[in-house]
């Protein structure tokens, strides 16, 4: 244990890792603070760079950039009422109301402080949850993996703030995309239409870059530019945060726990955590009437929650290769590339690398406090950059980055195609996150499904015979039927209330 810890320290205390982490932090802060450029997009654009780094440095960049970007989305949310990342959307109104009351320092300070605390709580959950779960996961067979993957996909459709039918359709589209190529049980070209470039399948990373980055540039073409930020002088940012921590320690803990749970659920990420925590904070608050008028309580809880979900989202990713959210989906791609294939054995064979990941998360969250304060102070200048200078550079990065992944031009075509697909899906209410998870998990789902079918000789019964498989199956089927139950309940309820009033 101690030796692994020392090994882990040795792994991360190289110049490469330190520089990579610092640079990625600054990058994450800047991208996250620009409205319309989300944390997922920041991470996706970073992937081509990670190709050329050592495994630990590569993961360091992902960890640092994603944590920083989630916090820094709060900055334009508080100052402009435009959330920088979707994860800040839940409380952007509240933070902006505080700014109008002249409490911008308190709002942003709460963002930094409780994000850092939430992030560290998330890491602790990762450290505590992952090893015992790995023990259990060692006895999993393909049946369990199949149900687990299905459960992950169903969760992704449940939490989408859209029609569940459309979310499931999005998931199927993603799975269909993963069918392309010769990497299937028969080893024959499937859906390749004779195009050689499709034989290797569609790479998840260019697809992700297309869906999150190119689609965003496309949307920018049609939406008006956000208003410039009025310049202001900030007072002390961290003043009063300790008082808030003592006053709202229960809200903070609850936010952390909710964030951790939502992060662990496959498919549900930081934005969902923030929405749920903000709603919970309002529901259980002693003074709910203050919400919406610039009250810091909801900010504390939601800020603590969305950063906690970032770290705990790595739990299912590291254990099963099932991403906790879209950022973790990208991280899984990087892990595979770097020879750290997700799975329970990772915790025994590459224990020092695991500890290095924990340590990097902790360092990133501590680093967030000074860098975050600096970022708040210079945000006014960064937000001056007009969209017409940022978006062209994003476009270049999309082109070069997707080319760099396989050093072939087909990656660029993939990015362009998925930009269009992502744009059209988003515009019509189909959640793209569900499709992304489908693409990332498709091969794994198919493998588990087909292997299980071969083992069971075509019978369905063995899918439910093992106890863990049966529990997971019940959960997955429950998740599938949940929207139906909500729908029935909604149909029945008005009838009941109508009957009650007519009496």
């Amino acid at each position: 244990m101690l030796k692994t810890l020392i090994d882990a320290f040795a792994l991360i205390s190289t110049w490469e890792v330190i520089i990579a982490m610092f640079a990625a932090s600054v990058y994450g802060l800047v991208i996250g603070s620009l409205p319309g450029l989300s944390a997922t997009m920041a991470t996706a654009l970073l992937v081509p760079v990670t190709f050329y780094l050592s495994p630990i440095a590569a993961i360091a960049t992902i960890v640092a950039a994603s944590s920083m970007a989630i916090f820094s989305g709060d900055i334009p949310g508080a100052l402009l009422r435009i959330p920088g990342t979707p994860a800040s959307a839940a409380y952007a109104d509240e933070a902006y109301a505080m700014t109008r009351k002249g409490q911008a320092e308190l709002a942003l300070g709460a963002g930094v402080w409780f994000s850092a605390v939430g992030g560290i709580a998330g890491v602790l959950s990762l450290m505590i949850l992952a090893p015992p779960l790995a023990e259990i996961a060692l006895s999993f067979s393909t049946f369990e993996y199949f149900w687990l993957a299905l459960l992950g996909l169903m969760c992704a459709t449940l939490v989408a703030r859209s029609s569940p039918v459309k979310a499931i359709a999005g998931m199927f589209i993603g799975l269909l995309v993963s069918c392309v190529g010769i990497e299937n049980p028969g080893g024959i070209p499937r859906f390749t239409f004779g195009i050689t470039d499709l034989f290797g399948g569609i790479e998840p990373i260019p697809a992700l870059v297309g869906v999150f980055a190119v689609a965003q540039v496309m949307r920018a073409m049609l939406t008006p530019e956000p208003p410039p930020l009025p310049r202001r002088k900030f007072g002390s940012i961290m003043a009063g945060q300790w008082k808030l921590t003592k006053l709202y320690h229960w809200q903070m803990t609850r936010g952390n726990i909710v964030g951790i749970i939502i992060g662990v659920l496959p498919g549900a990420g930081a934005d969902m955590a923030a929405w749920v925590s903000y709603a919970m904070s309002k529901r259980f608050s002693k003074e709910p009437e203050k919400f919406g008028t610039g009250h810091v309580e909801g900010l504390v809880e939601a800020g603590a929650s969305n950063n906690a979900s970032i770290a705990s989202g790595w739990v299912p990713s590291l254990l099963f290769g099932i991403p906790g959210d879209t950022i973790a989906a990208i991280a899984i791609g990087v892990l595979y590339m770097k020879g750290l294939n997700p799975g329970p054995t990772l915790f025994t064979e590459k224990a020092s690398s695991m500890y290095a990941i924990y340590l990097m998360f902790i360092i990133a969250n501590i680093l967030m406090i000074p860098l975050g304060i600096a970022m708040i102070r210079v945000a006014a200048y960064i937000l001056l950059a007009p969209r017409s200078t940022v978006m062209p550079i994003i476009m270049l990065c999309c082109a070069v980055g997707s080319f760099a992944i396989g050093n072939n031009m087909f990656g660029v075509v993939t990015v362009a195609a998925f930009g269009v697909i992502g744009y059209v899906m988003e515009a019509n209410g189909y959640p793209v996150a569900a499709m992304v998870l489908g693409i990332v998990m498709g091969t794994m789902v198919e493998q588990a499904f087909v292997t299980s079918l071969i083992k069971s000789d075509g019978s369905v019964l063995p899918f439910f015979e093992r106890p863990v498989a049966a529990i997971l199956a019940a959960m997955a089927i429950g998740a599938l039927l949940w929207p139906v139950m909500v729908w029935i309940w909604r149909k029945v309820k008005p009838v009941q209330t109508a009957a009650a009033t007519s009496r």
């Binding site: 039918v165 080893g187 499937r190 540039v217 062209p392 550079i393 270049l396 087909v450």
Partner: protein
């Protein structure tokens, strides 16, 4: 690009049916009941069912209409001009990426990238005073990071870089 649900739903039905059929005609693995055909078949059927449900408006009540945040202080954002061609602007980024694919090998990275930056920047409302220097400088910066530091073999084309 907001299409009626009946259109997107019907498209999904067609896509699902095509996928299921495409899976169906795949050759099986000899001596094995399940092969590469099962998964596309299942997905195709699922997709077609979802498409049907969407056509009939099932699940529509779960959708939340997008809330537009109104600007305060009365400074309402000017509504974008509503001509048919305006919507096509959204297709500019993917078109430019395809242009990159076709032209980069011949023109080289620097020139192609400069054209991309200039067009995107102008389309987003930049004046030439901003767009021109940006187009002249940013390709070199990107080339320095990706081409020089990360050693991505970017096409040289007509204009070689000084390094």
């Amino acid at each position: 690009m907001r299409l009626p649900d009946s259109v997107t739903g019907s498209f999904l039905v067609a896509l699902g049916a095509a996928a299921a059929y495409g899976g169906w005609i795949l050759p099986p693995v000899p001596g094995q009941p399940v092969g590469p055909n099962v998964f596309p078949l299942v997905i195709g059927c699922g997709l077609a069912l979802c498409g049907l449900a969407i056509v009939f408006g099932i699940g529509h009540s779960f959708e939340e209409e997008e809330e537009l945040i109104p600007f305060e202080d009365g400074q309402a954002a000017s509504p974008p001009p509503q001509s048919k061609l305006y919507g096509l602007r959204a297709l500019l980024p993917p078109a430019l990426l395809l242009f990159y694919v076709l032209a980069a090998d011949r023109l080289g990275f620097i020139i192609t990238a400069a054209i991309m930056v200039y067009v995107t920047s102008t389309a987003l409302g930049a004046k030439w005073k901003l767009a021109l220097p940006l187009a002249a400088l940013s390709p070199f910066a990107i080339h320095l990071i990706f081409g020089k530091l990360l050693r991505v073999p970017l096409p040289v084309g007509l204009l070689p870089t000084p390094w």
